[in-house]
């Protein structure tokens, strides 16, 4: 009976043993023990690559699989630092270590070169310079020696020319005067003068007047050789002049490099390498270099000579044999000759800056430490009688004067502290205690070192701060505590010292009058408390901060003279609803203190908080949301719990009222940053109140955006909101989780990525539910599951991308099947099938993909849906194959490109799924407890089999029809070009499909396959492809022959037919010259 049926049908799906096939396909994989992209791994991979190129690729594939093992999105979120920056950092550290290890001149100047980039110690000269220029601004006039103010052009005149009578007279007159002639300059004219000098240096250099350029540079350094009449301006003058000196030094270096390069090319050794040594440099270059250095060495005046030597320091690289460490030590000693402490401090600053470019590690630290210790040791000069009298005459206060030392001290300290051994801190503190004691220096020291260094000595440092507070300074002692707290955040002090320290420090901080400074000092304390102290202390401090901020807002409002009425209405968005009530309440902040959150008063007050405070407040809020182990640092060192943000803090009235200080765009921004903090901390939370607060922030973030917002902003917001959903974990309370997802769906309308994550979270929820009930739903859980799938069905259409919709529908349908929700699965599958047409013709605007790819997507989509259909049970009324039929219908209806093989591929995808469904046992199915699959539902049902075979036959006919259409088109083009390629592709797809799923012992199928193979051979399919096909057929024939030995007559006949076919294919493809078994079938096949 079966025989006859097979004969009547051209196509019969063959039975397959998937388990065995999979075994054959399995690839032995060895798991590499190193990541191929980390440093060692890279070297490893490279060494492998050099030997055999294939190994690298294998490693790459393995790494991709490794990465796939954990959540790739989570990995992105946890890599909070820019990976490139981190890599650069480690490389710089490695370089520093290398340079430190190799003592001697050759190794010590490897650290390159451009001060435009941040130097290796994390010090950045351009920004430091800008900060100095911004900070030290004066509005008085600066007295300058006329000689120094003269135009550079005059210097061009030959010095030994005869002096005219007038000039001689003038000179005599000048000699008569006791003092030098001077000019008065404002800061602006001074700056213009410097710019003019710079321009004349450039032009002198451009016209090859090197000596003039040198003179201009010397003149520049003379400008900073003595403090001006206005010390407050000296730092800015230094910053300006150092720019010229840098530019001069670079020019000389580049010129020498040019000569050396030309030399090297002439000698035939190629271009001068970037890390050249003196050995690469010709004698002509060395001679020129020596000339430059001799010129600078004989400058009479100390400070110009020092600055010129420093500017040309890099040129010593051409000479070699010169030990930079010794050179820098000598120059550091030379700075001692500078009597004025301010000039000396800045000269040391410049020395340290230049040293950072040339040496690294211990030699660098040694010379900078020398500078720092000298500076600390001579601190007495800044406060001696002479200086005090002088400052008094100039009208500069001691406090202002001390503050001028802040930039050089900060720089020197940071450079000394960079990766310093722990004893360095005690050395610095000893030097400080011995002779300095200034709060400016102490702040610099404390900022430069971190808590690891001073944590253990906290009890000793607090008295130092107290003592230093007696000294003149512009900053309150709170600033020192601030520096201390910053360092302690990552490295907590010993437990016993924590409370006394907090008491001392907080007393000082709360004594600060200025709101902005208070906020700045309070921020690190909040972070410190959040990380290492008890919750009660944190809340107390937060309350104080909130109170102070409200007070500041109130004072500002009063200062403006308006207790917030008219402005209340018209101001930024988000406060509009509060405008009416704002008028009265702002004047009575007491009500706000009572925690009436989001009230009008707070909203109105927000606009009055000094703008400078907001960034510090932002930091406070972000840190609170990030939780104890949030912002970087090693959480192991903190020793505290690793839970996320503390809900009690987040929901405290202080937090809420701090939040309320923000409004409008600023609020959106702070919400974004707080979410960033939470996401960066990456700790899942289950606290409903916390989640509620965070959702509020996410909503504020979402509401601050609209469709016209920049794409990166939307993407970032999407990521944050999505991650928030992912990080929310209510454990077994799945209902709550679903409610949250529903809420999220409503809240994040604009955010495509967030919506997708919500959908995926929904999917995960269904999976988890399945796990929790151990695969079997009861009366209580089943309705919940139905609700879940209803949620999926409602949420998914909201996604803009058809591909995502389709994938999520499919995944949801599969999950529904596993959860025994067949009707829901049915609806989801129907939706997925309907989605195919939109995937194939994607609206290009939303998907960011090109239309031309639509057809590739179509095949992908059809295969994806077809895959899900395998385990979908039939419909009681519509029949077992109604989804397959409608999928086929969809494929039929799509507008296909007649010149592409996509249609054939899609049809074959349907043929494949039918082949699968014909198996006695499906290759995969819902687990026990899930929906029944067709192989159980219709086991042995002849109608099922018949329908399947009919459908399969029809599909194959359709595929062959499509191929023949394509064949005609291709013939017209002589099988050349893309059409020919498409045709061959379509042909081979059909052949492959036939081999995979058709029962080839059916004569008609065999005949068709043989025909198709011949066609393929004729129409130019690559021989290799045919050969591999032939090999597969042979394998199958051999397997069939084995079976035939035990099987009956029918098996033997099948084996016979197969081997005939395989043989024919082998001969055809050129795998063998002639038939290996002289069977009569071979001729027939051919």
């Amino acid at each position: 009976m079966e025989e006859s049926k097979a004969a009547s049908l051209a196509w019969v799906a063959r039975r397959r043993n998937y388990a065995k096939e999979r075994q054959l396909l399995a690839i032995p994989v060895t798991v590499p023990d190193k990541h191929p992209l980390d440093d060692e791994g890279l070297a490893y991979a490279r060494s492998k690559l050099s030997r055999q190129s294939g190994a690298g690729r294998a490693g790459g594939a393995a790494s991709a699989r490794d990465a796939g093992a954990d959540d790739p999105l989570g990995a992105v979120a946890s890599a909070d630092e820019d990976p490139l920056r981190a890599a650069a950092g480690s490389r710089a550290a490695a370089a520093a270590a290398a340079a430190g290890a190799s003592s001697g001149p050759a190794g010590s100047h490897v650290v390159g070169a451009d001060d435009g980039r941040a130097s290796h110690s994390g010090l950045n000269w351009p920004t430091t310079r800008q900060r100095i220029l911004r900070k030290y601004v004066v509005d008085g006039s600066i007295t300058l020696s006329r000689k120094l103010f003269d135009d550079a052009a005059k210097m061009d005149a030959p010095a030994d020319r005869a002096m005219s009578l007038e000039e001689a007279k003038e000179r005599l007159a000048r000699l008569d005067e006791a003092a030098e002639p001077t000019t008065e300059l404002t800061q602006r004219t001074y700056q213009q003068h410097i710019e003019r000098l710079h321009a004349s240096l450039e032009s002198a250099w451009a016209s090859e007047k090197r000596v003039l350029a040198l003179k201009i540079a010397i003149k520049t350094s003379k400008l900073i050789a003595r403090p001006t009449s206005m010390p407050a301006f000296y730092p800015s003058a230094f910053a300006m002049c150092s720019g010229i000196l840098d530019s001069f030094g670079r020019k000389v270096f580049e010129r020498l490099r040019g000569i050396a390069d030309a030399d090297s090319r002439r000698m035939g050794t190629g271009a001068l390498p970037a890390d050249f040594t003196a050995a690469d440099v010709g004698s002509a270059t060395r001679e020129t270099t020596r000339n430059w250095l001799y010129k600078t060495a004989c400058i009479r005046e100390l400070v110009p000579r020092l600055y010129m030597e420093l500017a040309l320091l890099e040129c010593y690289r051409f000479l070699g044999g010169e030990d930079y460490a010794a050179l820098l030590t000598r120059l550091a000693h030379t700075c001692r000759g500078v009597g004025d402490p301010l000039v000396a401090a800045y000269a040391r600053f410049y020395l340290a800056k230049q040293a950072a470019r040339l040496v690294a590690g211990e030699p660098e630290r040694a010379c900078v430490w020398l500078c720092l210790s000298d500076q600390l040791a001579t601190w007495g000069l800044t406060t001696d009688e002479h200086r005090v009298a002088l400052l008094g005459r100039l009208g500069v206060s001691q406090e202002q004067y001390a503050d001028l030392f802040a930039p050089p001290l900060a720089w020197l300290c940071q450079q000394v502290a960079w990766k310093a051994p722990s004893k360095m801190f005690s050395r610095v503190i000893r030097a400080f205690r011995a002779s300095c004691g200034s709060p400016v220096a102490l702040t610099a020291i404390l900022s430069a070192f971190d808590g690891r260094d001073y944590g253990p000595h906290l009890a000793d440092i607090v008295p130092l701060i107290k003592a230093a507070a007696e000294q003149p300074t512009q900053l309150p002692p709170a600033d020192m505590y601030r520096a201390l707290a910053e360092g302690l955040v990552d490295f907590p002090p010993p437990v016993a010292d924590r409370m006394p320290f907090l008491r001392d420090a907080w007393t000082a901080v709360s004594a600060v009058e200025d709101a902005e400074l208070f906020a700045e000092c309070a921020a690190p304390f909040v972070e410190l408390l959040c990380r290492h102290y008890e919750r009660e202390h944190l809340i107390v401090v937060l309350r104080v901060v909130a109170k102070r901020m409200r007070k500041a807002a109130k004072e500002a409002a009063e200062a403006a003279g308006v207790p917030g009425d008219a402005e209340g209405g018209g101001a930024e968005s988000g406060a509009g609803d509060a405008a009416g009530a704002g008028a009265g309440a702002a004047a009575a902040p007491g009500t706000a203190a009572a925690g009436d959150t989001g009230s009008a008063s707070a909203a109105a007050a927000a606009r009055r908080v000094p703008v400078g405070c907001l960034s510090h407040l932002e930091r406070i809020l972000v840190c609170l949301v990030s939780g104890p182990s949030g912002s970087g640092g090693d959480s192991a060192a903190s020793g505290d719990g690793d839970e996320g943000p503390d809900p009690a803090v987040i929901t405290s009235d202080a937090f809420v009222s701090l939040m309320d200080l923000f409004s409008g765009a600023r609020k959106t921004d702070v919400c974004r940053r707080m979410l960033e903090g939470f996401v960066k901390a990456g700790k899942p939370t289950s606290d409903p109140v916390l989640v509620h607060t965070l959702m509020d922030m996410a909503r504020a973030l979402h509401d601050g955006l609209d469709r016209s917002s920049p794409a990166p902003e939307l993407a970032r917001a999407s990521f944050l909101c999505g991650r928030l959903i992912e990080l929310t974990d209510f454990g077994r309370d799945l209902e709550r989780q679903l409610a949250l997802l529903t809420e999220a769906r409503q809240s994040f309308r604009l955010l495509e990525g967030a919506k997708r994550r919500v959908c995926l979270a929904g999917l995960r929820l269904t999976r988890r539910a399945l796990r929790l009930v151990k695969g079997r739903h009861g009366a209580r859980t089943a309705p919940f599951m139905r609700a879940c799938f209803a949620f999926m069905h409602i949420t998914t259409p909201g996604l803009a991308s058809a591909r995502h919709r389709l994938n999520i529908y499919c995944a949801a349908a599969e999950s529904a099947l596993c959860n025994d929700c067949a009707p829901q699965a049915d609806a989801l599958l129907a939706a997925a099938v309907a989605e195919v047409s939109s995937v194939a013709a994607p609206p290009s605007t939303d998907d960011h993909e090109l239309d031309t790819k639509g057809e590739t997507f179509a095949e992908e989509a059809v295969r994806r849906v077809a895959g899900s259909l395998v385990m979908a049970p039939g419909h009681p009324e519509a029949g077992p194959f109604h989804h397959v039929r409608s999928l086929a219908e969809q494929v039929r209806l799509l507008a296909w490109d007649p010149l592409s093989s996509a249609r054939v591929r899609c049809i074959m995808a349907i043929a494949d799924v039918l082949g699968c469904m014909g198996q006695r046992e499906l290759p995969y199915r819902p687990p026990a407890g899930g929906a029944e699959a067709n192989d159980t539902l219709y086991a042995g049902d002849p109608d099922y089999e018949d329908e399947l075979q009919d459908l399969y036959a029809a599909t194959m006919e359709e595929a062959l029809g499509a191929v023949s259409v394509l064949s005609d088109v291709a013939k017209d083009a002589d099988d050349a070009g893309s059409v020919g390629e498409a045709f061959r592709d379509a042909l081979m797809t059909v052949i492959d499909g036939l081999c995979a799923h058709a029962e080839l012992s059916v004569p008609e199928a065999a005949a068709t396959l043989a025909k198709l193979l011949k066609l393929a051979k004729r129409r130019g399919v690559a021989e290799g492809r045919l050969q591999s096909l032939a090999r597969r057929l042979e394998e199958r024939a051999a397997a069939a022959a084995e079976e035939a030995e035990t099987g009956g007559k029918q098996a033997a006949a099948q084996s016979e037919a197969l081997s005939r076919l395989a043989n024919g294919a082998a001969v055809l493809s050129g795998l063998r010259q002639q038939a290996w078994r002289p069977a009569d079938g071979a001729a027939e096949a051919e």
Partner: protein
């Protein structure tokens, strides 16, 4: 037609006893007949007339003393075809018998200079000989390095020579100490030491290290002596911190220095002055003679 001479070293510097090597380059676009190419290396000590010593010595008595003279025939009479020719040469730097070589030096009273000149002799009507020359710098290194002989110094009001004892009390007390690491100093290495203002009630304006050269010319029992400041480096600017050693460091200038020489006709000697300038326009100077040698 072009004739030039190039020495093998960029700085033209060779030491006594070494072989001086170089190339003579002849470029010609037409046939160039000549009657020989000759190289002459010549060095001499040239006492110099200046306004200061003009009265002491008569002009006729100041003849230069040759100390090196080498003649080296390069080519006999021949013809250069058009083209460019490089003719290498080499000769030892050795004094005229009975003389000793002195270093190349340009001073106020004395010049010691060496030249390498070549001449392409040509004869005939309207034909001039071609000549070219280039300076040669000769160094006379010392075989055995002398001991550095460090010098520790101390400057006190009492050590001032031009102050009468009874006026001593009017000078504000000060004490400056220091050390020169070598009074026998090599020309090729920096001159180092340090100076410390131990105490001074008067504010200090500047600390300086002055290098002075003393040239002497002798002739028939008469002697002319000239001190010249050849370098003055400020090592301390302003009222430097007390008790903190400040480095004395000088790279000796190439042009104005030479090894210390004592000859019958002339001598070149050096001294350093350590100068402490005080705020109120007075200064104290400590003079320390030094010996320079080429190491």
């Amino acid at each position: 037609m072009d004739l030039s001479v190039k020495l093998s070293r960029v700085d033209h510097t060779f030491s006594a006893g070494e072989k001086c090597a170089g190339r003579i380059i002849v470029k010609t676009r037409s046939r160039l007949a000549h009657s020989g190419l000759m190289l002459v290396a010549h060095g001499e000590v040239q006492p110099q007339l200046s306004a200061r010593n003009a009265g002491i010595f008569g002009a006729s008595q100041l003849n230069p003393t040759p100390i090196l003279h080498t003649e080296l025939p390069i080519l006999d009479a021949d013809v250069f075809e058009p083209g460019e020719y490089e003719l290498p040469f080499e000769f030892p730097i050795e004094p005229i018998p009975g003389e000793t070589l002195a270093e190349t030096y340009h001073g106020v009273y004395v010049n010691v200079q060496y030249t390498v000149s070549v001449e392409l002799k040509r004869s005939g009507m309207f034909v001039r000989s071609l000549a070219a020359q280039c300076p040669l710098v000769v160094h006379t290194p010392t075989e055995a390095k002398p001991d550095p002989e460090p010098n520790d110094f101390e400057i006190l009001p009492e050590s001032l020579k031009n102050v009468r004892a009874e006026r001593l009390s009017a000078i504000p007390p000060f004490r400056v100490t220091g050390r020169l690491e070598q009074t026998n100093a090599s020309l090729t290495t920096p001159f180092v030491g340090h100076i410390t203002v131990e105490e001074s009630t008067e504010r200090i304006r500047s600390l300086e290290l002055q290098l002075v050269r003393v040239e002497t010319v002798r002739n028939e029992g008469r002697e002319a002596r000239e001190r010249t400041e050849i370098q003055n480096l400020q090592v301390g600017e302003g009222d430097v911190a007390r008790g903190m050693p400040v480095p004395l460091y000088a790279v000796l200038p190439r042009l104005f220095t030479a090894p210390t020489v004592h000859r019958s006709l002339f001598s070149i000697e050096f001294e350093v002055n350590v100068i402490v300038r005080f705020e109120r326009h007075y200064l104290s100077t400590l003079n320390i003679p030094i010996t320079l040698y080429r190491g």
